[in-house]
């Protein structure tokens, strides 16, 4: 036993080196494509076997911003996603509160059912939704795209806030009632405030889910409504690769910004203290 331990100890340097190499490989694997993308947004041309790009340019950016189809896609995405998130909050947060705080028959089935709907291949669901859309005249409409994206956010907007509401200690609410606050005021000043980190996480996840959604949006939106991800389909086929790179960066920008903001607010903010996240 002791000998085994000793051997492990002597080889620990080797283990360390191996780990560093592994981490470096992982970094190349994960960051490499992003790096490639980032470079391509600014180069005139860069192809094998050239080690360096032929030249640098902002040409592709102006091309994206001058193209009315791309501009429309950006605008659609920036309008649709916030609407989806707000609609999702209005619909799902009361459900989340009920699931987290109340005990009613079928509560578990409701929550598990949410997962079940997400465990099927989405494209099949979208196809059958499409037939429904034709009947309801929602095909190719703004509302149709909003609804299809909304469906994808429901799981985030119910499960995460439900857990957050359930985690608020009851006696913190009781103490507020005892102090003279009405039920609604207790909800506003205590329950909601303490569940806020969870709700924020759900908002971020939902926004990203909606912003990135392509399958369903393409199926029910094209060719009338294009969002940034659905526009990518035609981009890859009809434009130079550099334009796609620029567009990818634009697509990533809101996500990165949102996660950075939320991270600061959730992990670093005062709200963390209530949850002992440190």
């Amino acid at each position: 036993m002791a000998r085994v331990k000793a051997r492990v100890k002597t080889s620990s340097l080797g283990v360390k080196i191996f780990l560093y190499i592994f981490m470096a490989l992982m970094a190349v694997f994960i960051l490499g494509p992003l790096f490639w993308l980032g470079i391509h947004a600014f180069v005139t041309n860069w192809t094998y076997p050239n080690l360096y790009p032929d030249g640098w340019t902002f040409h592709w950016w102006t091309r994206v911003f001058d193209d009315s189809a791309l501009e429309t896609a950006i605008r659609n995405s920036l309008i649709i996603s916030p609407i989806v998130v707000i609609a999702s909050m209005v619909i799902c947060l009361p459900a989340a509160y009920a699931a987290g705080r109340m005990n009613y028959p079928g509560r578990r089935i409701f929550l598990i059912g949410m997962f079940a709907a997400n465990s099927f291949p989405k494209i099949g669901l979208f196809a059958s939704i499409a037939t429904l859309y034709y009947a309801l005249n929602l095909m190719g409409t703004f509302l149709g795209v909003v609804i299809i994206q909304l469906l994808g956010t429901i799981i985030y907007m119910t499960w995460i806030p439900a857990a957050a509401f359930a985690a608020v200690p009851r006696n913190l609410e009781e103490a507020a009632r005892d102090a003279g606050a009405s039920k609604f005021r207790v909800f506003r000043t205590i329950t909601l405030r303490l569940a806020m980190p969870g709700i924020l996480v759900a908002v971020v996840m939902s926004f990203l889910a909606s912003f990135d959604e392509a399958q369903g949006s393409y199926l029910v939106g094209a060719p009338q409504i294009f969002t940034m991800p659905t526009e990518m389909y035609s981009l890859v086929q009809n434009y130079p690769i550099q334009v796609a790179a620029v567009f990818s960066l634009l697509l990533a920008f809101p996500s990165v910004l949102l996660i950075t903001l939320a991270r600061k607010h959730i992990i670093g903010g005062q709200l963390a203290e209530g949850f002992q996240i440190k």
Binding site: N171, E174, A175, R177, D178, A179, G180, L194, E273, G274
Partner: protein, 339 residues
């Protein structure tokens, strides 16, 4: 008549509460005078917390009514009652500073800003926490959190203060200090107080009167001294202090055959190495050191009595003489005489 209702702070009249098909509180009566401090004492599950929650308004009784300073409050929600509660785990709001925690009840009442500030400062001054007013609950110690919870209750100037096991989360040393602080404050402010506890030491040292509870009923309601000297039921005698419990009868300082239960406090068993009038011979069977005194087990025939001895502690195997100076005699669980 009006004088009488003035006198009576809290009246619980025939309270009954059924939860999950079980009778938790069973036709309970209790009257707490204005300015009095009363303990609800009992083991877990005896219904003491349920009773407190009914007084606070978190539970509505199935039967009976609750009167506070002459007003029927039975059906009022907790936010409408002139009561303030200190929770067992303090229930401070982690997202608010100490100041904001204490200010919350006043903000809810829509008091002017300068009055809120004045009263919060006053309350924090009373519990000696002004220097922590901008801290968050997570940054201060358990004892300090407890005082914040107390300040949050006191700032409301309630008709009645409710304390739910307020000391159970503090360590032993701090517990004694805080309970003295609470008692001193309660006396000074003259505030009617009901405190729930399972700790008899706490109840005995802090209360004007104690209600000992058992299975949803009050077994006895009297002053700490009376409770100790004259426990009306065997249950109370066992719950408060230590007790030698012997089946038999009692006459002339001796346990005799009989069909009663004899309860003898260990401090009422006097041991001496030499014979004294009324004493019987006994052998020391076990000695347990307890710090400033020792618990000595004295055996004669099949009867074993515990005695508390602090000087000249005998050793196991010693033979000497034991004398009983006071005994409580119970029949069917009820006190029949004190001999």
């Amino acid at each position: 008549m009006s004088d009488q209702t003035q006198e009576e702070g809290l009246i619980l009249n025939g309270l009954t509460k059924i939860l999950g098909g079980r009778v938790i509180i069973d036709n309970l009566h209790l009257t707490v005078k204005k300015g009095e401090m009363v303990s609800l004492l009992g083991p877990s599950g005896c219904g003491k917390t349920t009773t407190l929650r009914m007084i606070a308004g978190f539970l509505i009784p199935d039967k009976g009514d609750i009167r506070l300073n002459g007003k029927d409050v039975t059906l009022l929600g907790p936010e409408k009652r002139p009561s303030a509660m200190v929770f067992q785990n303090y229930a401070l709001w982690p997202h608010m500073s100490v100041f904001k925690n204490v200010a919350y009840p006043l903000k809810v009442r829509k008091l002017p800003k300068d009055e809120i500030e004045r009263r919060v400062h006053e309350a924090l001054g009373v519990v000696n926490l002004m220097h922590h007013k901008d801290s968050r609950p997570g940054q201060i110690s358990g004892g300090e959190q407890q005082r914040v919870a107390l300040a949050r209750a006191l700032v409301q100037e309630p008709d009645i203060l409710l304390l739910d096991e307020p000391l159970s989360n503090l360590d032993a040393k701090l517990r004694v200090k805080v309970r003295e602080d609470i008692r001193e404050l309660q006396r000074r402010l003259g505030i009617t107080t009901v405190i729930v506890t399972h700790d008899q030491d706490e109840a005995l040292s802090i209360s004007d009167r104690i209600a000992v509870m058992n299975a949803g009923k009050i077994e006895q309601f009297s002053t700490p001294q009376e409770l100790y000297d004259r426990p009306e039921t065997e249950y109370v005698a066992n719950f408060i202090g230590s007790l030698n419990r012997v089946e038999g009868g009692y006459a002339d300082g001796k346990v005799i055959p009989g069909d009663e239960i004899v309860g003898i406090r260990p401090e009422d068993v006097i041991y001496s190495a030499t014979p004294t009038p009324g004493a019987f011979p006994a052998t020391v069977s076990l000695v347990v050191p307890r710090g400033h005194f020792s618990e000595v087990y004295l055996k004669r025939d099949d009867v074993e009595l515990r005695a508390f001895i602090s000087v000249d502690v005998p050793r196991v195997g010693d033979t000497g003489f034991a004398r009983v100076v006071k005994a409580l005699v119970y029949k069917d669980g009820k006190l029949v005489r004190v001999a």
